[in-house]
């Protein structure tokens, strides 16, 4: 090369100005511009879909967070109670009292409308029973004014949310056209109100014909306990396995085989893990069915490869000179890893962990196989330990169950459930980001 330039010095050199760019430079600049444009288009497309997705989730899901209630202030005196308790149809007596109260309210606002007990039942369910149960549980409340907020039936709720309209309504045992007049009247009197749907957030799943009573709270708890299991098992096992494979294991055929297998495991469809869990954990080991513990075990199997692969990648990314430095001052291999390599790899490990956990959180299919279906989530566990072993569901399975139900009232619940699921995920990510910040260092 030296010789070549010696032979004919200055050939091919033209007097060019720096301000006038030549053809090649222009071409390169154009290519770069085009590439940037592609990038911007790609990002814009992605953003567009994201916005559409979020908009539709919010549009469909927000109604799940409000509910229609009939709110009536009601005072039951001791003689009234005694009288009601002495009748043969006790709940009917209570519901008569309630209807009287309601009529009073309507009269106060100068609205008159005809309705019977059956209409009230269609609107509010068994009111008498609800009231009676309340007073038998809180006998000291007798004589005090109590504000009852009674959930309106899902059709009534649908009437307010546009699912049910006068034109399309066909009289049925669930709702009749005349009931809507009553509903309108009650709304005018301020008795029917839209309130924030706390029971949706704190409640458990309801029966197939009661979408109004369905809540996601129990399955949030189920997801929480399941994720605890996944985190507690997959993080330590995954990190320990990666450290061993990356820093200590000899390079031979056997470790190569393990490596290939781990990579393949990451690509196994999750339902395979589900059927494995069913066979091993439930049928063979006789662990309880539908338990978050088992769900956690199954998803740990699924999450481990993700965590191992990302942990190994971040361990590899730590410059070897750091290991040399530690070994050079007489640190043992283990000290070098734990004092120097691991802290540097921690942000990457966390990222991998959060990706793995997010996958696990959104997993449905394998959990359906081990019985964590939505309708199992009928209540809260009795305690912390019971949270792991008592039958429960998880958010995505609950959402799936709702979406599959016939009653259209469940449709908005499914969307609302997705909002809660995303919020759960967001919380997890925020915690991870905060932890990441703490670990992040430069070298």
């Amino acid at each position: 090369m030296t010789d070549a330039s010696m032979e004919n010095p200055g050939t091919g050199r033209r007097a060019t100005s720096l301000t006038a760019s030549d053809e090649r430079t222009l071409k390169r600049a154009k290519a770069e511009k085009r590439f940037r444009l592609y990038g911007i288009i790609a990002i814009a497309t992605g953003l567009f879909f994201l916005v559409v997705l979020f908009a539709s989730i919010l549009k469909e899901g927000i109604p799940a967070f409000t509910r229609t209630v009939v709110s009536v202030e009601f005072t039951l005196t001791e003689p009234q109670r005694a009288e009601a308790e002495s009748t043969l149809f006790k709940t009917k007596a209570y519901s008569d009292l309630f209807i009287t109260e309601l009529n009073g309210k309507l009269a106060e606002s100068g609205i008159s409308v005809d309705f019977d007990e059956a209409a009230i039942e269609r609107l509010l369910g068994k009111v008498g029973g609800t009231i009676r149960t309340f007073y038998s549980e809180n006998p000291d409340q007798v004589g005090e004014p109590i504000n009852f907020e009674l959930a309106a039936s899902s059709r009534v709720d649908g009437y307010f949310k546009g699912r049910v309209s006068r034109d399309t309504l066909q009289d049925s045992r669930f709702l009749q056209l005349s009931d809507l007049d009553l509903v309108d009247a009650l709304t005018e009197a301020g008795v029917i109100k839209q309130v924030f749907n706390w029971p949706f957030i704190t409640g458990a799943d309801s029966g197939v014909d009661n979408p109004g009573g369905a809540g996601i709270g129990a399955s949030v708890v189920g997801s929480f306990f399941m994720m605890l299991v996944v985190l507690a098992l997959s993080l330590p096992i995954g990190v320990a396995a990666s450290i061993y494979l990356e820093e200590f294991a000899p390079q031979n055929k056997f470790t190569d085989l393990i490596e290939v297998n781990i990579s393949n495991l990451a690509a196994v469809p999750s339902i395979v893990f589900g059927i494995l869990g069913l066979a091993v954990f439930i049928q063979f080991m006789h662990l309880p069915q539908s338990a978050p513990l088992v769900g956690g075990l199954v998803l740990t199997l699924m999450t481990l490869p993700t965590i191992i692969i990302s942990t190994r990648a971040s361990l590899k990314a730590v410059p070897p000179s750091i290991r040399d430095a530690a070994l050079g001052v007489g640190a043992s291999k283990m000290q070098a890893v734990f004092h120097h390599v691991l802290p540097l790899a921690a942000p990457g490990i966390l990222t991998g962990t959060i990706i793995g956990l997010a996958q696990a959180l959104g997993e449905t299919a394998p959990l359906l196989l081990i019985g964590m279906v939505g309708f199992v989530a009928r209540g809260y566990p009795d305690g912390f330990l019971a949270g792991f072993t008592e039958p429960n569901s998880v958010m995505p399975a609950q959402i799936y169950t709702w979406a599959a139900r016939a009653d259209v009232g469940f449709y908005e619940k499914a969307w609302g459930g997705i909002i809660i699921l995303l919020m759960f995920l967001l919380t997890m990510n925020i915690i991870a980001i905060i932890l990441r910040r703490r670990f992040e260092r430069r070298w």
Partner: protein, 265 residues
């Protein structure tokens, strides 16, 4: 100065600290070190010189078993520190490296504070009984690394935030903090300015009173200034090993002569 010290050199007949016999290093199929025999004396500075890629770093890394960390590297031969084989199965490389410290070719401070960089070795070896002693060790080491004045006000700053030359001196301070008996230095001055180089050379001279120092260098002048013994490597062979003065003034091998006069390299 050279002549004076040469006289002194010949008078000193130091004990052999590290005895290396028939040493071979293979990187897979690459035979990187061939039949090297070297005696590294106590209280002596030994310089390794030679063209790039001739195996100086490789040989240096054999002396504290840093090659153990390279999977493809295979070391053969006998290496005896004070008469004990350092590749013996019973030898824990951790203990060996506490005795044989190392400064690497590229500065590699820990991504921790300057203080922690220096204090790490003493901490894991339990050299300080309390914080005051540790502070003292850190200060002394940083002074010996010729960097104390520059960092004394920011011991909590990250070591990686220093300039390249400062980082290298920090690494030297870190290496001397554990009080090794042998200090291996792989081109410690390649990133240093002349002033810092002079300071490091002063340190090397000072260390010589107690330890043995092995220094790899590409600077003939440096080798001539600081070392008493010089080994010239070429293509994995130890071509010549002897008194520094003799190697530089009257080399036996023609390859040595052409290298130090700048004709091969």
């Amino acid at each position: 100065m050279n002549d004076m010290s040469r006289v002194e050199r010949q008078v000193d007949a130091n004990e052999i600290k590290l005895e290396c016999r028939d040493c071979q290093v293979y990187y897979g199929d690459n035979h990187a070190i061939k039949d090297v025999n070297v005696d590294i004396e106590d209280k002596t500075v030994t310089a390794f010189i030679g063209p790039s890629g001739c195996g100086k770093s490789t040989f240096l890394r054999c002396l504290n078993r840093m090659n153990d960390t390279i999977d493809v590297a295979r070391v053969e031969g006998s290496f005896k520190l004070d008469g004990e084989d350092i590749y013996d199965k019973r030898v824990d490389p951790v203990q060996l490296r506490a005795k044989v410290g190392m400064v690497f070719q590229k500065p590699n401070p820990f991504p921790k504070s300057i203080y922690d960089n220096v204090a790490y070795g003493p901490r894991i070896h339990g050299l300080a009984r309390n914080k005051a002693e540790l502070d003292e060790i850190v200060e002394k080491s940083l002074r010996r690394g010729a960097i104390w004045d520059e960092v004394k006000d920011r011991l909590d700053a990250p070591g990686t935030g220093l300039s390249g030359g400062q980082q290298q001196r920090l690494c030297i301070a870190r290496a001397v903090a554990t009080e090794p008996e042998v200090l291996l230095m792989d081109e410690p001055c390649s990133a240093l300015d002349p002033i810092a180089t002079a300071q490091v050379e002063e340190l090397i001279d000072e260390l010589r009173s107690r330890y043995s120092v092995v220094i790899v260098t590409h600077s003939m002048q440096q080798a001539a200034r600081v070392s008493q013994k010089t080994a010239f490597f070429h293509l994995g062979n130890l071509v010549e090993f002897g008194e520094t003065g003799q190697i530089f003034t009257n080399p036996e091998d023609p390859r040595t002569e052409s290298y130090i006069t700048g004709r091969i390299g």
